[in-house]
């Protein structure tokens, strides 16, 4: 209940800041405000997949069910945020680039990541109730994570139209301080939201294992 309240407060305060206290971007106008949820979703997606990657390694080392529960929960919540990135991106791209989608490096590698974790969730369901499931899941989360640094550096490695605004300086495509502050606040609120979703998903995974125990016992 405390986490739910904290999430609601964090998300509401970030939304109020985005709508009422952050200036509109000079050329793009109000549509640029999608940026805050788009980028925050992307960073939260990285967080989810990174936790799943670490949990995958820990499972291979220790073979404890807890690591599988943590990894699968983080991967699924990360996949939800990846879906959010792929939905909000085209909605922002349509009025700015004039197209919903283009096969440029960052978009392509992000779509590939979504496909990899979709396959992970599908395969995990296919192996449900078998001893191999946890092992296959751990290996898949480690393999799929290779795409994350590729996405991050794709704008530097290959030519594309996707902007790099986080590390750019103001006046050279970078953000002014007011927008940076709003982005930071939104990111923090999304981390809290991630925590809430992760906790719910983790409880569900534990209950699934409990059901299998009751069935067997």
């Amino acid at each position: 209940m405390k986490l739910l309240l904290l999430t609601a407060m964090a998300v509401l305060s970030s939304l109020v800041t985005i709508f009422f206290f952050t200036p509109e971007e000079a050329t793009q106008g109000i549509v640029q405000k999608i940026f805050y949820i788009h980028v925050s979703s992307a960073i939260t997606m990285y967080l989810g997949f990174f936790i799943a990657f670490l949990a995958g390694i820990m499972y291979l080392l220790e073979k404890k069910t807890m690591w599988d529960e943590i990894g699968s929960s983080a991967a699924e919540v990360g996949w939800i945020f990846c879906t959010a990135v792929l939905l909000t991106g085209p909605i922002w791209a349509r009025p700015i680039w004039g197209t919903w989608w283009t096969w440029e490096p960052r978009l392509t590698t992000t779509f590939l990541l979504w496909l990899l974790y979709s396959a992970y969730l599908f395969i995990r369901n296919a192996f449900e109730g078998t001893a191999k499931r946890n092992l296959v899941s751990a290996i898949l989360t480690i393999i799929a994570f290779i795409d994350v640094p590729l996405i991050h550096y794709s704008v530097k490695l290959w030519r594309g139209i996707h902007p790099t605004v986080i590390n750019a300086k103001p006046g050279q495509g970078g953000l002014p301080d007011s927008m940076k502050a709003t982005l930071t606040l939104t990111m923090l609120s999304f981390f809290v939201l991630f925590g809430l979703l992760f906790r719910q998903r983790y409880r569900l995974e534990k209950l699934k294992n409990r059901l299998n125990e009751v069935k067997e016992g």
């Binding site: 999608i34 939800i80 959010a84 909000t88 569900l204």
Partner: protein, 42 residues
Amino acid sequence: MMYFMLGYVVFWALIFSYVHKLNRQYRSLQTQIDLLKSEKTY
């Protein structure tokens, strides 16, 4: 303006539908566990 609103609506619809799915699955699993336990006790 339309795209801006669409972005926010789609994002929150996704999050709320996921929360709804998690809660529904949790209740269903809890019911299954309770039923199995009561069958075994009986």
